[in-house]
Every structure is written in C-alpha cells, then in structure tokens.
Amino acid sequence: MSKSGKELYDKVKEKIETSQKAGTLQNKFGTFWKMACTIKTRQHDMRYLYEDTSREFVNRNRDRFIEMREEFVNNMDMYVEKCINIMRKKNFIVHHAKTNEEAQKIFMEELGDNKIIYKSKSTEAKDIGILDVLKENNIEIKETDLGDVLVQLFNYTLPSFQVGPGAHFTEEEIANKIKEVHGVELEPKAQAIVEYFRNTFRNELLNNVKVSLTSANAISAEDGTIVLGENEGNISLITRATEKHIVVCGITKIVPNVLDAVLMTQLQSRINNVSFNYISLISGPSNTSDIQGTSVQGMYGAKEVVVILVDDWRTKAAKENLIYADFLKCLGCKSCIFPCTASRAFGNIYASKYGLGATAIIRDYIHNGIESAVKNGLFLCTGCENCYHWCPVSINCGEILKSMKKEATDKGLAPPDLEQYKNKIFKDKNPFI
C-alpha cells in the first residue's frame, strides 16, 4: 500500500533535519555541495582557463545544441537505425534493447561466465538498471574512477554528485580508511593517496580486465563513433586493455555527427569543471590488417566492442508526448544542477539513486513512480526555473516537476499544508486567510 502525503513529507523533513546536524554525512556533503554550486554560478566561472566563461561557451553554441537535439528527437527512429547500421559495418556488436529488462538480460549474456566487471562512472548504467542486476547476480563491480573507488571504499550509499562522487571525503578520512581496509599507512595528502592507487590499481587495470563497462558521452550517427571524455585515464585503460568493452547507454546519446558528439562532450567538461584531458573516439574494436591485408580483430585493444542501445522510456515519451518528453533533449551536461534552488540548499536530500537535482528526480519518477519522486524531494522544487534559464537546450525541468507535483497531489501524496493551500484557493479564493 502506498504511503500518504503526510508520511512522505515527514520522511523528507527527517532527512533535512539530519542534513542540518553538524557531523552527519548529509551535512558534510551539503557543505561541500553548497561551495561547488556557489563557485559554479559565479559570473567569471572558468575564466581562469579560457577566454570565455561556461555560460558564454553555452551561449556561443546554443543554436547548434538546440539544432542537434531537436534534429535527433524529431527523427529518433531514423537516427537509431542509421547509427546501428554503420556501427555493425564497423564490427561493433550492437543490440537495440526495447526495455531496461531486455538490456539487462543482454548484458548478462554478454558478460558470460565473467564474475568481475570494471567500470567507469555511468549515470546511464544506473538508469538502465545494470548495476542493480549485477548486484543481484553477485558480480563484483570494480569502480575505476577514483571518486567512485572512494565511494566503494567508504561503502557510501547516499546519492552523490555524479561527477565528483567522493569529493567530500577529507584527505585524513581517506588515509584512515585505506589503513583500515588495506592496512597501508599513507601520508594524508592527495598526492600520496593518488600515488597509492596508481601503484596498486593501475597494474590491475592494465593486466586483469576481461570485461569493462562504460557509457558514452555521445555517439555519432554519421560514423558510429563513440565519444568518451575523462581526466584520469581510467576509461582509456579499460576500453583498450580489455577483451570486451561493453557500452550501455540510452538512444538519446546519439547525435547527428562526430563534431556534434565532441561539442557535447566539451560542454560536459566545461559545465562540470572537469578537464577532459583524454577524449576517446572509438569507432570499432581493435584490429590489424598488417598480415597480408587480412583484417584480424583484437590486436592490442578490445577484441570486441559491444554496444547496447536502450530505448525503454524514450520513444514512448516522444510518441505519447509524456510530461517528460522534453527531457529527451537532455545533453547530460548538468547545467541545471548548480543553479537549482533546491539542490543548492539540500544537496543529496534533493536527489535519487540516479544522482542530484531535478533530472535525477525525473529519472526516479520514470523508473520508480511518483511516490518515490515525492520521497526523494519532488516538493522541494520552488519552480524558480533556474534550470530552464541555464539549460543549453532550454529544457524546463521546473514545468516537468510541476506536472509531477500535480499527479502527486491527485494521488494524495502532496504535503498536507500544500493541500490546505490548494483547498483554500479554490474554496475561499484566498490561501492566506
């Protein structure tokens, strides 16, 4: 039986109270997050590196962002087919999964007897439920991005910021944790911690990876190129030094051409202050034709590159014009998170297992329904539409959330005070008397 509006409201209030108490994990994350949001919404953001700010970069490219997303969303079937065709010609193994469940099944088949998977960070893998199914099947998930490695090390289960999931742990805490878990004493300095992982984990990544999992920042429909941006080098290692590289992502990662794909990746870098020191453009598995011109797959890089393109909610949202149809245009840049009134104030309270902010609440709604979205803070949204003003393609998450709030209210899941306001407006024509 579903919970009442009062019960859900109390749950959110309880989480907020915890986040207000000094020393709690939520409080710690909140402090870090508030700082990140303030820095990111400064007018001179990124001017220390570039001639223009992130916002100026967005404005300069806004027309192309809108054009590339609308072009895809208006012609989804055509672009998916085009992308799959060219990928198959380039020896990718491509699956087009209609649902998340189908994608999970395909993934497990592709995994075969392997019991360990090495992965980069991936919101898409969470969205598609790959991580859940791996856990259910007792597959060992080895994170490779240092932030996620730390999250695993600390067994941290609260929602976190996708780009820097472990950024709120202090050097002392990390050094202590490494001592506790691995029995190694380290100087509590970032340099020493990084060196420790370089000396230990890098070897494993170079030699032991059989199957790796990544998402894609973008995929070019024109030539089937997968674009992956990163700063650590973990993606470079696990996509090359592996037998099988599996890419799992929604079809919405497809853009018309490779220039668009790189531009979209650049945007993600600029918005998240992550310098993508490596951008991989993967157009097929490793191969050589050096022996008599005979093409042989699997030279030094991945022998197989498997791409699982997932539809699930996407075509349905477009065809039925569902309340979140506009979300199909999302570039995954996270522009909407930093200036969000609720996200800034509530950090990982206004969040779901898909990450922080409005887009994570929308994903939660899509996969787990309205009750879960309310529990994860739907009603914390003030409707200020900062998300809309900052979005490079003008997605109005505020309006999507308003539609969700209306559904919640109709189902008796709204906070009781709001119900009262509503009744007063409609009956007394004044909510404040």
Binding site: G383, D410, K422
Partner: protein, 246 residues
C-alpha cells in the same frame, strides 16, 4: 470599463501598508484606477498542485469576476499575479481573457509616468540593489529592465547589481509553497541573496513572496541592511522619508 489595481492575496492580507502605498502611487499617476474589495486569488500556488480541471474552473471564476466588474486593465503589485495572469490565463482561456495586465514596475517605468513622478532623492548618494524575482523574470513578458530604468532615473540613487542578476538571479527559495513546508530552502537561498548585496545598502524587491522570505531571514539572522518593497521605497522617496530607516 474599469482599471483595476490588483493587490494579490498575500499583500492584501499581510502587507496592508504596502498596499496603501501602491494605491497612492498608482492613483497619483492615474486617478481612474480602482481597488475592489473581494478580489479573488489568481491561483498562483495552485499551478504547482491543482489538476487542469480544477485550475480551469478557478481561472474561469476569476475571469468572470473580472467580467462582472467590467475590468479592462489591471496593474498588479504582486509578481506572482503578474506571472500567472499573463501566462496561465491566456493558456487556459485563450481569447476569452482580454485584459491588459501590467505589473507595477512596467506601469511606473513608462517614460510619461516617470516624468509625472519626477522622483528625487536629496540625501547622500545611496547605493541600492534590486533582486530579480523568478515570477518577474520568468513571465511571458519578462520584467527585467523596468526596475533598473526606474532606479536609474532617480538622482543620487545608484543601482549596484548583484553578481547573480536578471535571468541568473538566485531564487529566494519560497516559491511553490516551499516557504512554509521546507523553510530551510528559503532560509539558505535568501541569505545568499543578502550576502550578494556587497556595496548595496538596501535590498529592493518587487515580489511579496521574496519579501516575506527576506524578512524572515533578516529577522532570524539579525541582518542590518533593510529589505524594502519597491512601492514602499518609492513612497519614502516621494515623502522625503529616509529609506534607510525602517
């Protein structure tokens, strides 16, 4: 046909002095404007939670009330009313909603009205900051330059822009009923807005919801700088009252 001053339910219920000032101000420019007693709520908050059928009923009720009173023009002092009357009433009612709706800031910023007001400030040069409310910057016709035109027209008053301004302004955190149900939001964000005042000595706002949130955070944190509703500020100038004294 009548010209109506639409006060909005929040101001009309909680900020009577501000309403009196707004009425005085509008009537000093155009005495034909009237105030009606039983004005209904525009329904702003209900757009977050009411379903389309309930909302349409409410919008039709309010529109009928306008028709009964033969309203042809509205000046509203509420940012929320302006946003919703211009956006959602047209959306729900189409051509059946024929009223020309202006916000007080648009009304005041008209060159002929600014000329009539002839605003002066004889005190020492005063630096003020203006906060762009979501309701005004998000409206179908956004109100962004008007408050700046008004402030810049006054001798000795200098506008100090906040770092986050215009469409990038920080939201006060009160909208969508969040002010009362999750006060931590407006307390945090309103404080951020105060922190951005820097050289501004006064925080000016044209939104009663923002004003309410700012007042709470100011009182709770014993912040020194005054927060003043736009119409109160203008009346203070017109009546020679020091705006720094609350």
């Amino acid at each position: 046909m009548k010209k109506l001053i639409f006060l909005g339910c929040l101001s009309n219920t909680k900020y009577k002095d501000t309403c009196a000032n707004a009425i005085k101000l509008i009537k000093s420019i155009d005495p034909d404007y009237v105030v009606l007693d039983d004005a209904p709520c525009c329904g702003a908050l209900a757009y977050h939670i009411g379903n389309d059928i309930e909302l349409k009923d409410h919008v039709e009720f309010v529109n009928n009330w306008f028709k009964i009173h033969e309203i042809s023009e509205i000046v509203t002092i509420c940012a929320g009313c302006y946003n919703y009357l211009t956006k959602y009433y047209t959306l729900f009612l189409g051509n059946d909603f024929k009223i020309n709706v202006q916000h007080l800031l648009q009304f005041l910023a008209k060159p002929e009205n600014l000329k009539k007001l002839n605003l002066q400030y004889s005190g020492k040069r005063l630096k003020v900051s203006y906060h762009d409310a979501c309701h005004l910057r998000n409206a179908a016709v956004p109100i962004i330059e008007e408050p700046r035109q008004i402030i810049n027209s006054i001798d000795n008053i200098e506008l100090i822009e906040m770092e986050n301004n215009k469409t990038n302004s920080i939201c006060c955190g009160a909208g969508g009923g969040v002010y009362s149900i999750f006060k931590e939001n407006s307390d945090y964000n309103s404080k951020l807005i105060f922190d951005q005042l820097n050289r501004g000595k006064i925080l000016l706002t044209a939104c009663p919801f923002c004003y309410t949130a700012f007042k709470r955070v100011k009182d709770d944190n014993q912040l020194k700088k005054p927060v003043i509703k736009f119409e109160d500020f203008i009346i203070k100038l017109m009546e020679g009252v020091d705006p720094l004294i609350e």
